[in-house]
Symmetry: C2
Subunit: 205 residues, 2 copies
């Protein structure tokens, strides 16, 4: 349903256009499905607007997102071939971040790999490399103490320009939710795995 | 995170493979964002598996999904050009269902238009026309009594073959949730419109 109705008009001295174009920091959290899936659905919109999209997967088990990855890369090819939409980059921690190209990826410490990923994202934010970022499952390295939450929040809050950032994963830290413009919690009401069904192609991947 | 662990193994006489390939009926409901967006994210996966995808929008205001529509149609073009992925059809009630091609769309009664849409979907399910269906905002015509919930549930439960159906919208009827394999509720924790910000391109559309 259209949700264009604002509940209050803030006295912030901004015009509607200025307020409209503020960058969004969104968090998809909670125990239910759809956190990442909704982020990739948002990435479809961003692509269609011609925004450069960067996806960063903070999880070792990359096979669960292969459908989204292939599809986003197909959209990148559409962009390169026809100029429609925007460019898409997809980076996975699980294979060693591609910009590092280390030979010892398999041996790399997970915590250090997560920190490498965050450092690169912070660098990209500072130079406004993308317009739309998905930090997929990024709550886990925060939760596990691998990356400092305060530093992340400070970097995100102070990012320049008009860069949208979507962070997914369970148990988002409170400081991150406090800093976010949009927080959605996905709650599991019923899941096929509860009755002993396993994931299947085209649905889970 | 990988969610391949099943909590119980049912005594239903099915092999894991048989159980894995059961068609899924999913409902995305609740007051939060991401219900439709997650459905379109799932459609990306289905597309990547080569599943024929059919999207049916049960809402008059089509502009809010233009990003997803353009992107899904770009994927359809990739399919037609290269054979990758699956074919995608996108149908909107708001413009008069394309298969009806009536000249009096603007005058058509909304309730009758919704019923026409459901009749066509039931027909497509009976001939297994698609493999993955998004019935977007379909809970509203059910809630408003325009379409009979019991008939919908019976048709969905008895659909032939292996057709996945994702239904989105607030206030899903209990009978539909009871029939579904997967129910996710999206809860709004915080939304930019609460503080007077309006929707913007690349985020809301």
């Amino acid at each position: 349903m259209p949700q264009g109705k604002v509940e209050t008009v803030p006295q912030d001295g901004l015009t509607t256009r200025q307020r409209r174009n503020q960058p969004v920091l969104a968090v998809h959290t909670g125990p239910g499905k759809g956190k990442s899936t909704a982020a990739f659905g948002m990435a479809m919109r961003a692509w269609n607007q011609g925004f450069p999209v960067g996806v960063f997967q903070f999880v070792k088990s990359a096979k669960w997102k292969v459908g989204e990855e292939q599809t986003m890369l197909a959209l990148n090819e559409v962009h390169e071939r026809t100029g429609a939409g925007g460019p898409v980059e997809w980076h996975k921690m699980g294979q060693g971040w591609s910009w590092l190209r280390r030979s010892d990826d398999a041996e790399q410490d997970h915590a250090e790999a997560a920190r490498d990923g965050w450092r690169e994202i912070a660098r990209r934010l500072s130079v406004e490399q993308h317009r739309f970022y998905v930090l997929d499952e990024f709550t886990y390295p925060l939760k596990w103490g691998w990356i400092d939450v305060d530093e992340v929040v400070e970097t995100l809050v102070n990012r320049p320009g008009n860069q949208h950032v979507i962070i997914t994963g369970r148990d988002a830290p409170q400081a991150l939710m406090d800093a976010a413009d949009l927080v959605t919690e996905m709650t599991k009401v019923k899941h096929p795995m509860d009755s002993g069904r396993k994931g299947q192609r085209g649905i889970e991947w």
